[in-house]
Amino acid sequence: MGEFKVHRVRFFDYMPSGIRCMAFNQRTERLALARLDGTVEIFNFSDRYFQEKVIPGNDARSVEAICWVANRLFTTGLNGEITEYDLENLCPKYSVDAFGGPIWTVACNALGTHLAVGCEDGSVKLFEVLPEKIRFEKNLDRQKGRILSLSWHPSGTRIVAGSLDVINIFDVQSGHMMQRMLVDRGTVNSRTRECVVWSVFFLSDFTIISGDSSGKVQIWDSHTGTLNKAHLVSKWDVLALSLSQDESSLLAGTSEGTVVQFQFLSPTLGASEKEWVRTRTFKHHTHDVRAVAEIGTAVVSGGVDTQLVVRPLLDKVDVKSYDTGLRKIQFPHRPLVSCAAKAGLLLFQFPVQLELWRLGEGEGPGRPGHSLIVTRKPEKLLQLKRKGEDHICCSAISPCGSWVVYSTVSSIRLHRLQYDGSNISIAKVPRLPKVLRSAHQLCFSADSSRLFVASSRSTVHVIALSQSECKYLHTFKSSSGSTEPMHLLAASADGRWLAAANRACEVHVYNVRSRKPHCIVPLYGSCPTAMAIHPSTNNLLMVHADQLIFEYSIEEKQYTDWSRRVQKEGLHRLWLERDTPVTGVTFNPSNASQFLLHDTYMFCIVDQRLPLPDQKAQLYNQLTLKSLSEQDRKSYSHAFKFCKKYQPLLCVSVLEDQSVVVVERPLLDIATQLPAPVRQKKFAT
């Protein structure tokens, strides 16, 4: 398949942020997730858990609670504001100050007409949800102690609020308190510490379920204000609860990293009387589980250990398939690394800064599988801090290595880089064209003379770059009228073509020279996760979230024969059942028929001349091939060749000198940077 010199890069200190809260929208099957740094991410659960949208965070904004109202997303935070997001432009739409101090929780009623927020000063405030805005309606009776959790009764007439040591029930109409239930502080932690009711739920049968800092999940009768049952779940806190839509299952996330399931079952089979019974315990986390979501068919949990875990409930699925496997989502489904192929430079994107590294050099002809002696160590050339409070949402380095561009939600900054091997100088390009306000994706042309900026409303701006100035040339507008953000850009090597994919799964091809839209690739139901244009044949290669591969001939405006063959024969089952989406496509410059794909756990070389593996063939067959004779090898070999040596992968790209750069981020390094988990007694220690 060819031999490569590999730069194994492990100096990208990417540190994902912990998960703070999440909300699942059952209707659109989108999970909204907020991280501790204020980033909001949206995962499409109907499209292989693909991370569809990322709204970058802001230093001034923290997210404490998140809530869907129909298709609108609201968050509240410690800055005391309620924020609604613009999901098309991936930025906050507006913020409303509730004037109650930090807001710990937000809840929407079943009809979606009102939001209730719980504030630090002990007040519960109701907001009316109007088109394009929200309006303050009234305060409920103010109590002592901050409100940490809220839940509406499905009828919308009552609200239960969890506070310190107490759970209050309010009548929405009058705003008066109806019941006050004291929560036991428990003996586990000292009695002098207040019991924090972290989460509370109001069920349609007027049962209230609460989870608190003394490790109890308690079931209350709201009519009488009495405790029905207390389940001691953890020695530490119960941080999050989640109720299934049909109110038959409840999840509790604890500080010990466990998620405990409760089910509403009748103690005797066939009887109608039911009670909440503790059933399963899931342990997929090492740290606090800050957020859980019961989505009917699966348990979704996330916490301080930064990973999102989707654990399907096998009793709710009919057939064993791709969806029934356990899934851990640790890394973003978008590239954070850009590589200057000609200059041998790597640009790492962090939320608050960019880092530019020069790759090291190795010596001598090495044997396959062995490492070379490093003659020149990799070197960090530059650390570029972002301006303002917004986090960086995308960045790019030109192939020649002389331009660096990044964007936040409010501005784009372009820098010119001069590097002669020892000295480096950087200069901000002063006057950018006015159209460049913010970008969803940035891309340079192969000769570094053009910068493509995917901007709001599915537009792509073309900027001409030269030594003296940068000039706005043209704006490609979406011909389909879609306003979804563009998330992928690919420019052809000859500078003629530009492909742009948006979140509505559309892939537009523009002719850069004639400044005209060329065509739209036939719409496919799954979002493209990676694409690239072949340098010699100008075929557009796309990989979608459901792992299918398409090759589209731009010039002929149709799928290539190879692509049709792939569709006809189908891809191997093991290929389709892989966990993570393909996040990078590159071509082998020495062999035009080969291209490289990578996801988090492997990269593979696909040879278009070889036959595709049929369903019965062994997909991972390199070891078997090695043991066969030359003649047999031919009959057994197929198009896919895998390399799983480097894990987890964040980037694979091919440099001009035929060497491959792989950027790894070992999970252990992430784990060591996490705060210490709560102390737990382990057996035999």
């Binding site: 389940h231 001691l232 089910q263 079952l265 005797t268 089979l269 503790r278 059933t279 399963r280 009793d315």
Partner: protein, 835 residues
Amino acid sequence: MEAPAEIRVVRCGGSRITFRKAVFTLDSKFLLCPSGDAIKVFSSSTEECVHVLQGHANLVTGIVLNPSNHLQVYSCSLDGTVKLWDFTDGILIKTYVVGPSIFSIHVSKKHDGVVFLVVPMASNKSQEVYQLVALHLPRSPGQEVEAKEMSAVICDISPLPRAISFGREGEYIASAKGVQLSVYFFRKQKEYRFSLKATDKKGAKNSFTCVSCHPEDDCIATGHADGKIRLWRNFNQKKEYTYSTEQWHHSAVAALTFSPQGTKLLSGGTESVLVQWHYGAVTKKDFLPRLGSAIEHISVSPDGALYCTSHRDNKVIVIQSSLKVSAIIQGLVTGDDVQTELLIDPRTKALVLNGKPGHLQFYSLHRDKQLYNLDIVQQEYIHESGLRQYGVVQAAFDSDGTWLATVEERAEEDGGVDVSLKLWAFSEAAHSFQLNTTIYMPHEGHICSMCFRDGGETTTLVTTGRDGHFKAWVLAEDTDTQGISSHWSCEFVGDYHLLTPSACCFSADGSLLAVSFREVVTVWRPGTWELLATFSQPPGDIRDLCFGRLGCSKFLLGTTTEGVLCCWNLLTCSVEWSTALDVILLQSDPLSDNMAAFSAAAGSTDLFVFKPSEPRPLYSQKAVSSGVVRRAVFAPRQEALQSCEESAQWLNRSRLYFLSDNMDLMTFSIKSEEDRILASSKQLVVDDSVALTPFCLLLGKHRQAQRNEQDPLCEQVAARTQLPQRSTAVRELLHTPAHVLPPASHLCTMFVNSLLISKPGVRGAQESEEEDMESEKEEEMGESEEEMESRDAAGRPAIQNEAADGTASLSKSQERELRQIRKADFSWVSAALDC
């Protein structure tokens, strides 16, 4: 010589009482344990064995209370029968002959007249596949009934009873095998199967070990090989079933039981800790640790007040629900390996062998009860495999039981061995053995054998070691600041051509010591330690040495590894006779001149009993036991038998016990003796409201004696009537279960007769009350025999007893005189002597 039919190899007690779950009776007063071929009824408060229900011809594999009559119990056995017993009276009511071997039995209240049995599947005998069948018990009146009406319920299940449990009100039955749980609903006749993965990524071993169903809720608790406990719910659905997992045990959960009210869940395993989980709040649990040995079964009394755990070391512990141990019933501990010889303690006549790790147990064969444990190693035993810990490997008593020598060993990591020899003196004050001397490393390496010198003025111990020496140890007195104390020290170290000694043996009178060095037997004179003679019988090394006893004390017998049994005459110093017989075990009877030799033949062991002086064996039997007999011993009888059969005479004074390959203690019994036991076992209990214990009998006697004193008239009336005593007849009529009573027409006359007032005063009132008591008791014995032999009330059994005594038959008056003399104070004699 063909073995006479009347000598049989039997399990003699000491069999496992923890083979299956013990069962509490409804009133929790008694505990029923299957024990070998019999069922033992223990009193749960006094630990005493009240009855032994004998009748099965093979291992009893399960007992359950009859759900429709709580005074009856069903038992099943490998002999293919189900028997119904009345355990209060110890009577077999009915036998249902099923056919195939039965591995466990289950009943439920809902299924009246049906028992559920686990039997091997008939279709494939090669693999051990079992099925659960429902057996409809026929209602025919006969004693022994063929029961063939069976219907299969679940196929392919585990034969262990702990893997099957009836659910709430008998609506369903849950059974587990491997990683599969099956639940069968009787009403819908539908079976649900739930599987777990055999292993998962975390290395959990998910296979089921035991199952228990909640009595009121639909919840099944299962125990697993990795110590997890799962609580299953909603199991009437194929997919939406659910379970929760709890873990405390670190190794497999061996037993799991819900309390009858369902509020508690009890579990146990190798950890020897009883864990009590609170149903509904599983994070709350109580523990009863340090139960001594791995828990194998747990049962709960029907009122939930008592728990009972069965342990691997053949122990049953009765525990109150407040987790306080209230009674311990200890059987004979036979672990995987008995390293010491079987010994008889000369004082208590108890069998002594390895018990708990690091202990010697004293087990009374007569009462089938453990007397006590002697801690030899005196170190905490750690329940973990792979640890090198001290174990007792040898023990020896001197002739009168005042000294006990023990050897303990621990293998070192470098292949060496850590040995210490301990000598224990019997202390009258403490009534136990107390450590006198510890000799660390008496030999370089293992000790091969050890024996005490029986006769002679000084007690001498001889040990032979792997280092090529044999050493003689004597008790030496030394004076220190505390005063005079005596300790053991080495007197003589002997060797012979640097060969390794193996066996050693003193002659009965202690005048000669024989030590074997490979193929050479050397004879030494103790005291002066001069070498008197050497014998040799090549080829083959000497394995066992034994001096003849009593009339044959001039003979020395030896066995060699090459399969020769050789007898030397010590007077002529020549071989008297030798025979080619591969003897693996040679034992001499201390009370007679008989010797027993076990020889290994293909797959089994043969027994020969012979006198060294006679050419023909007294008794021989082929294949007394399958596999190799590990240990054997002659135990003296309490009272000698008078056997008429020539071939059985060797069993008159002592019984031969041996440990079979699978650690069962077996013995030989004579038919006449068996008959006698069987007859006595059929007697009715004096009063079935009180557990029959010696203490109770004593009290009862006392009370009855008092009453008799107060009411001589009544007593005389009773004594005079030829018919059974009045009170007994009435009592029996009222208290015996109706189904075991003879027809009413029989009883009527007896009953009416007993109501008649007869004239007092024929029998002399001068007889002591004690004697009356005895005769009364014998009367009862007499009646209980169903044939109702007409014989005089006091006469025959007494004669029989005297005849059986044989050696010294004293009349009653003489005996009383003796007793009085014994009671008299003779301290003045010693006082006089002191002066």
